[in-house]
């Protein structure tokens, strides 16, 4: 609910291919693009590459677990953009979601001393009242 996030994502940054993802976040739903033919999940919007003759009408934004494991991590110590300086240093992670795709996000909460690849994490929704957006931050699972 903090104004510190208000400059990070604004609606006019989004193109129509990703709007359904961000709309779902407002309802605290973590949706991925799913192939209705084979069930494979993607993020962001993708035409499932496993088939030759499928169409975009066979892809849907499907409710998922919002859980995964750390695939790679880094700690940001310096940035130039004043809008994102307030939380330095902060931890960024690539999350390998349980449904398959890799999802980039910010890890919130205290940085675990034993931060490591493979650590389980889950989505932590951050509602930003000023913009009406909800951010899909992640946190470690106790």
């Amino acid at each position: 609910m903090s104004s510190r996030w208000q400059e990070t994502v604004v609606p006019d940054m989004l193109d129509n291919d990703i709007v359904p993802f961000w709309d779902a976040l407002k309802k605290h739903e973590f949706r991925l693009n799913r192939c209705t033919r084979c069930g494979t999940h993607y993020w962001p919007m993708t035409l499932c590459p496993k088939h030759e003759d499928n169409g975009f009408d066979e892809m849907e934004w499907s409710l998922t677990s919002g859980r995964g494991k750390i695939f790679a991590w880094e700690v940001v110590h310096r940035v130039k953009n004043p809008a994102i300086k307030w939380d330095l240093p902060y931890t960024l992670v690539l999350v390998e979601l349980d449904e398959g795709p890799i999802f980039p996000t910010r890890l919130v909460g205290n940085r675990p001393d034993n931060l490591r690849v493979g650590m389980p994490v889950e989505v932590a929704y951050e509602d930003v009242v000023e913009t009406g957006m909800t951010l899909p931050l992640f946190k470690t699972v106790e």
Binding site: L14, I18, A72, R78
Partner: protein
């Protein structure tokens, strides 16, 4: 054009690089182009093709669209002026396009140029931002870009550090290994009076003590900020032999693009898409790895050098860190890498930094840092969309020879 082997040659080189010029990217680029034409012993009226291949700008998402023409600034009578971009492999995709134009007779002498006023921009020396800087927005081609904004990964360091981190996890590579790349490049720069870091040697301890930027990366893992422009003149081999410098031939040129592997196979977070690029370029050139006298490897950050040492086969996968730490890429090592100091220690201009250095080496113009009897150089590029988690998917490989 079945093969590019020795059909085309670089005959002119213009380098205008340093810090604090307070010139627009356009003016930097025009100056480099002017120098390249003069270096070739040609006149502006001879130039009938011009390519503006910027690292940022041109057609890149968020790149600000069209870029004003240096050919207009110089009054070149070019039959075409193209703007194209692929991040850090812009010079090599431009080579590809220029060779086709020469092959079909669309042009006889093509200038390829790039300019980037990033130092003056970041230090408030420009009245306006150079074209090509700004955020991706307006709902076009921004898919996934918003993740950069909210997560705070909107820097090249933030994007690339994940790959370094992953290599450390998979292979036990250490920060000191990355430091060995930085130290090696600096040793080369200290032999190059034109390098920004000439006269400023560093040690592994300096690397370790330099501030963390995006962990695992320290300051000394990151490329420089520069005001820089490079231009080359490319022509056909027969025309090249009539000009004043010994021709630097394009012997091979290939590309790889790992977008699909990156996003969906999750197999490539510790490598670049060297395989197809190398296969095509080496096949055209008819050479093997042992024939390479020097390598100008794209070094936006230190880990990318380690990846390429492995992916090209100078050492087994996962051994790039120890290989660099043993001094193999430094002056006196078994494979001279980034002999002018590279993006890390000479100046930053995408793949043009390495391309320019290769041309100078093959002409034998490199003084103290000259690689003896250098005949064949490898130049690589690394670029693409700055998205996350998949980014900079294109790898370019050029083989140049004299």
């Amino acid at each position: 054009m079945a093969s590019s082997a020795r059909q085309f040659a670089i005959v002119g080189l213009g380098v205008h690089a340093g810090r604090g010029f307070a010139q627009s990217s356009r003016t930097l680029q025009a100056e480099a182009a002017r120098l390249a034409i003069k270096d070739a012993g040609l006149n502006k009226r001879d130039i009938d093709g011009a390519i503006n291949a910027q690292g940022i700008g041109g057609s890149m998402p968020g790149g600000g669209g069209w870029v004003d023409s240096y050919s207009r600034v110089l009054g070149l009578p070019a039959k075409f002026y193209w703007s194209m971009s692929r991040g850090g492999t812009g010079a090599l995709i431009a080579l590809n396009a220029a060779m086709r134009a020469l092959d079909t007779g669309s042009a006889n002498y093509v200038v390829i140029a790039c300019g980037d006023a990033s130092w003056s921009d970041s230090h408030g020396k420009l009245q306006a931002k150079p074209a090509g800087r700004g955020r991706a927005g307006r709902g076009n081609y921004s898919l996934g870009n918003e993740m950069l904004g909210f997560s705070g990964a909107a820097t090249a360091g933030g994007l690339h550090a994940f790959f370094a981190s992953r290599h450390m996890h998979e292979y036990g590579t250490t920060s000191e290994h990355f430091g060995a790349v930085a130290v090696s490049c600096r040793e080369w720069a200290c032999l190059n009076p034109e390098a920004q870091m000439y006269g400023r040697p560093i040690t592994i301890e300096d690397h370790q003590n330099s501030p963390l930027i995006v962990e695992p990366y320290h300051l000394l893992d990151c490329c420089l900020d520069s005001d820089a422009a490079v231009a080359i003149v490319l022509t056909t081999a027969d025309r090249a032999r009539e000009l004043k410098h010994p021709p630097v031939y394009v012997m091979g040129l290939g590309f790889g693009d790992h977008a699909r592997k990156h996003w969906w196979d999750k197999t490539n977070y510790t490598q670049l898409d060297v395989g197809p690029a190398k296969d095509a370029a080496f096949r055209q050139a008819g050479i093997g790895l042992a024939d390479i006298d020097m390598a100008q490897l794209y070094d936006c950050f230190t880990a990318e050098v380690i990846f390429q040492l492995e992916d090209y086969g100078w050492c087994p996968k996962g051994h790039g860190g120890p290989f660099a730490a043993e001094g193999n890429i430094a002056p006196g090592g078994c494979i001279p890498v980034n002999t002018g100091g590279g993006l890390l220690s000479s100046y930053y201009l995408f793949d043009y930094t390495g391309l320019a250095e290769a041309v100078q080496q093959l002409r034998g113009d490199c003084g103290e840092r000259q690689v003896k009897n250098a005949e064949i150089a490898l130049v690589t590029g690394h670029g693409g969309e700055m998205l996350i988690p998949g980014m900079c998917s294109t790898h370019g490989c050029a083989i140049l020879g004299r």
